[in-house]
Structures are given as C-alpha cells and as structure tokens.
C-alpha cells in the first residue's frame, strides 16, 4: 500500500468520528466537515512521520482542536459571547433538546469547550487533554470544572421537562481532583 492509499484508508475510517468531534466543537455540520478536511490535509503533510506511530487518530484529534482554536481566534472579534441562552417567548414550543445542548455548549469559551469535548466525547484522560492543548493537567482540571459549572448553570433550568438522557443529572460537583475523577 502506498502512503497515499494508506492515508485514504485512515482518513475514511477516522473522518466520521472526527466530524462528530468537530461538530461538538463548532456546532455546525458544514463547518465541521470543513474543519475535518483541513485537519486531514494537515495530517497528510506529516503522514510519513505519523504513520510510524500507532497514535494517528490522537494526532488527528489534536490537529483538529488546534485548527478549531486557531480559527476561533481569528473569528473571535466577530462573535458576541454571552453567558446565557437567548430568551424565548413563553408560548412557543420548547426547542429540541439537541438545540438546547448546542446552545449551552456555545456559551463556553473555545478552550473550555475543547476540554469538555475531548474529555467527555473523545474519552481522553486529563493527561491526554493536557497534551493536546499544550497546557498543564491542573489547567485542564480547572478549565473542565469551570466549563461543567457553566454547563450545569446554563442547562439547569433548560433541561427541566426533557427527562434524563441516560442517567439523571446529579448535583455532584466536579472539583477537578483526581480522587473525584
């Protein structure tokens, strides 16, 4: 198999998962696909090095997050960040739960959002997230705790009436200490 064929095989296997990660980061499927394409193009440039490792997906996920964060920095000025969900008229039917969740994610700062997606969607450890974001484990824990606090706050009321998505949301506070894990 040539390098190009090997890369195509990798890209086909990994792009559905990468696109979901990208979607949770940016909240829009078109942008997600663009992000994945840019990410994989970057991965291909260093493919010769990457394919020697068994960590190609991790490398791609890291490239994806960095591409998203770099993109976010450029667009930052154009965006209005708010800490709360937009108000809705009381009479209108409640929006789909997925919309509520996406709006809540959108209230997180880019790095906090990346921490949440990597830890709770990509199932990475604190150590792995720290490696991806190039920051300390302590920083990941504090970002994670802050992001969850915020999600909890934003979603707290909004989730009433939707029922549990698996297990009920509990009040346990994630302090970020490893023993609370």
């Amino acid at each position: 198999m040539t390098a190009a064929e090997e890369f195509i095989e990798f890209a086909e296997v990994t792009s559905p998962r990468l696109r979901r990660t990208a979607f949770l980061l940016c909240g829009d499927w078109h942008t997600a696909e663009d992000l994945v394409q840019t990410t994989l193009a970057k991965v291909f440039v260093s493919w010769r090095k990457i394919r020697r490792q068994d960590a190609a997906h991790a490398y791609a996920a890291r490239t994806l997050v960095n591409t998203y964060l770099a993109d976010k920095r450029l667009k930052r000025v154009a965006e209005v960040l708010t800490g709360r969900l937009p108000e809705r008229p009381v009479e209108s039917p409640p929006p789909e739960l997925r919309i509520v969740v996406l709006e809540a994610l959108a209230t997180l700062p880019p790095r906090g959002r990346a921490v949440v997606v990597l830890r709770y969607w990509e199932d990475m450890s604190v150590e792995q997230v720290a490696a991806v974001l190039g920051c300390s484990q302590g920083n990941v824990k504090s970002q994670s705790a802050r992001a969850l606090d915020k999600l909890r706050a934003v979603l707290g009321d909004a989730l009433d009436g939707y029922g549990p998505p698996g297990r009920p949301l509990e009040a346990r506070h994630e302090t970020g200490d490893t023993q609370h894990g």
Partner: protein
C-alpha cells in the same frame, strides 16, 4: 452533572447527522497541495540547516539512508536530498552548497543509501501499486537508472560494507529484497518478521539485522516485535529474536558486538549480543523511544524519548541507563559528530536542533531550524 449524563447530552447534540461527503479524497488532494507548498518554502531553510550542522561521516550517512535524509558521497563532495512530495532527489554540491537539477525517481521516494565507493545512490520508492521500486543513481552523472522492482511498501535500505549487496525492507510483504549492485538485479525475497522497518549490517558484513515492528497495536498481547538476523553469504534468515512492542529502529555498536532496539510501546531498549543472537534484559528509558545513535567509541547509546521529551544515555558496557537529558518537544532524530563530542537531536515540534555535550551530557542552546526537522546528516 456527571460524566454519563454529559456524554448522553453530547450524543443527543449529535443526532440528525447529515451524510458525510468525500472528505478523505478531498483532504488527500488538499494535503498534497499543502505539502508541495511547504517543500517549496522549505528549500531555503534546509540549506541553512545543512550549513549549521552538516558535519558527517559516510558511516553515519549510510545509516541515515534508512529514512529519507541527506546522505553524502565519501569525501563529502555531494549530498542527496530525497523530496518525498515531488518524487525527486536533489543533489547538493557540498563545497558550494548549491543544489543541482532534481533527479526524477519513482513514486513516493522514502529512503536512500550510497555505496561505500560513492559511485551509486540507491533510492527506495514506496511506489503506487502493489510493489515498490529502487532507483539506482550514478553519482558521477546524476542520471537515474532503470527502476528495480522490490516488495510492497519498501521503506528502508542498507548496503553491505563491501558494496556488493543492497538490502531493502518491504513493510507490507514481510520480506527483505537483496539487490546485487553489480547488475542491479533483485534476488529472491528473504522472509523476515511482520512489518520490517529498518536494517543494520555488522561492520564485517556477515550479518544483516532487520527489526520487525510486529502486528499488534500498542501493548496488545502478542504484539511484540522481533529482530531477524540474515546471513549475507547465503541470504538466509536466522531464528527471529524477540524484543519489546513497537520497535521501529535499530542501531549497532561500531565493534559489531551489540545491536540495540528501542521498543516504542514498551518504553525500553533491548540489547542483543550478536555473538549469540540472544536478547539481554530490556533497559528502561523514557516514553516512546523513537530514535537511537551510538557514539563512535561505542561507549554510549543515546535514545530520544519522544513521549517524555528527553534523551537517555545508555552505558553500553553495563547496559544501564543514565539520567535523562531534558530536550524540546518530540525529539525525533539523533546524530553524533565523528569526534563523538556532540550529539545533535532534531526536535520535531519546536522546531530546533539541540546539541548535547557528551562529556557532561548537558544540553546546549537549541538551534532554530526549518519546520518539522526530520533527520540530520553530519559531514566527515
């Protein structure tokens, strides 16, 4: 909110996913463009790198041939740079540091080695079908010869000290193809282990050692790698020698007595006594040991740990690891000067080259280089 409920919410956010477009093909096209752009930008930078650290010996140059580098002809008259993105090899006249006309080789050139007499450079091309090729280049004229057909996904080459045979490791065929350099014809493929990645040859030329990565991923059970010794007189493989998981590279001491194999998934280095072909006790190093080089006096092996950003010196007399030397992020490659005084470590992510004084094992000030430094060659 606990992890399970958050995971459930994220799953809900992902519902109504539209079908995926042809992302893989599109990104390959975009990636090829990106790579070409970067190679074009990289030319000026790489000349600076060569000027700054190009010090090397043919022996190291030959070792460098394992992975696309810039090995030199004996006497250091010319250096050859493999351009993986454009399917060419650029000759550089070292006296003036001027590049010559690029030489067209096969698809995806990956490695190069030069015969000890300096007359022929052999370029390994990954190829684009079920087999790869080797392009011989006559260094006097820089003219490419007829491609020699080898196995599937060849990625490494080594030439015997007498220059008679070039050995090419075919990763996907699990074979090594011997090429008679007198006629440039391939011999019968030699069966080795799973995914052969690199070859070293003893200084007496009698044995070629091939490191096989193994089939598994990471630390799965049964995913250990092996080393296959090949008797060069008959081109027959010996019994495979078991090493750790994920070995990718191999080095041999100048006296030919010991072969060292870093195991990238087990975070150890396995020494093998060539007299008996038995593995010694694995030597604990840092995480993801990625590259290795041995000093010309054979006393110390330096191992780059890309997971812990350190270099571990190993005393070869006792096979004990020394204190890890902190370097930059993702050390990628190691080369040692002919006088053995300095170890140069290519740091992939910074991107820099860190010199280490072997007398004290202390790192010097990093030297800034072009993007993604991959290999280092040192002139004689």
């Amino acid at each position: 909110m606990d992890e399970t409920s958050l995971r459930g919410l994220l799953d809900i956010a992902l519902s109504r996913e539209p079908p995926l477009g042809p992302v893989a093909r599109n990104s390959l096209r975009a990636g090829i463009k990106r790579r070409r752009r970067r190679r074009a930008q990289g030319v000026a930078g790489s000349a600076a790198v060569v000027a700054a650290i190009a010090v090397a010996i043919p022996a190291i140059a030959a070792a460098l041939g394992q992975h696309a580098g810039a090995p030199q002809t004996p006497g250091g008259r010319a250096a050859y740079v493999v351009n993986g993105g454009t399917d060419t090899v650029t000759p550089i006249t070292t006296a003036t540091n001027t590049p010559g006309k690029p030489i067209k080789v096969g698809n995806y050139p990956a490695a190069i080695a030069i015969t000890p007499d300096g007359k022929t450079a052999y370029v390994v091309n990954d190829g684009s079908g079920s087999f790869g090729t080797v392009t011989p280049i006559t260094t006097a004229t820089n003219a490419p010869g007829k491609p020699i057909r080898v196995g599937n996904f060849p990625d490494a080459i080594a030439i015997t000290p007498d220059g008679r045979t070039a050995y090419v490791a075919n990763i996907n065929s699990n074979t090594v193809t011997p090429i008679a350099t007198a006629t440039n014809t391939p011999g019968r493929p030699i069966k080795v282990g799973v995914r052969p990645r690199m070859i070293v040859i003893t200084p007496d030329g009698k044995t070629a050692y091939v490191v096989n990565q193994g089939a598994g991923i990471g630390n799965q059970a049964g995913s250990f790698g092996t080393v296959t010794p090949i008797a060069t007189a008959t081109n027959t493989p010996g019994r495979p020698i078991k090493v750790g998981n994920g070995p990718l590279v191999i080095a041999i001491t100048p006296d030919g007595k010991t072969v060292y194999v870093p195991n990238s998934s087990t975070d150890t280095v396995t020494p093998i006594a060539t007299a008996t072909n038995t593995p010694g006790k694995p030597i604990k190093v840092g995480r993801i040991p990625w590259a290795i080089a041995i000093t010309p006096d054979g006393k110390t092996a330096y191992v780059a740990n890309s997971g812990t950003d350190t270099v571990t010196p190993i005393a070869t007399a006792t096979n004990t690891p020394g204190k890890p030397i902190k370097v930059g992020p993702e050390p990628q490659y190691i080369a040692i000067t002919p006088d053995g005084k300095t170890v140069y470590v290519a740091i992939f992510k910074s991107p820099t080259v860190t010199p280490i004084a072997t007398a004290t094992n202390t790192p010097g000030k990093p030297i800034k280089v072009g993007k993604d430094p991959y290999v280092i060659a040192i002139t004689p």
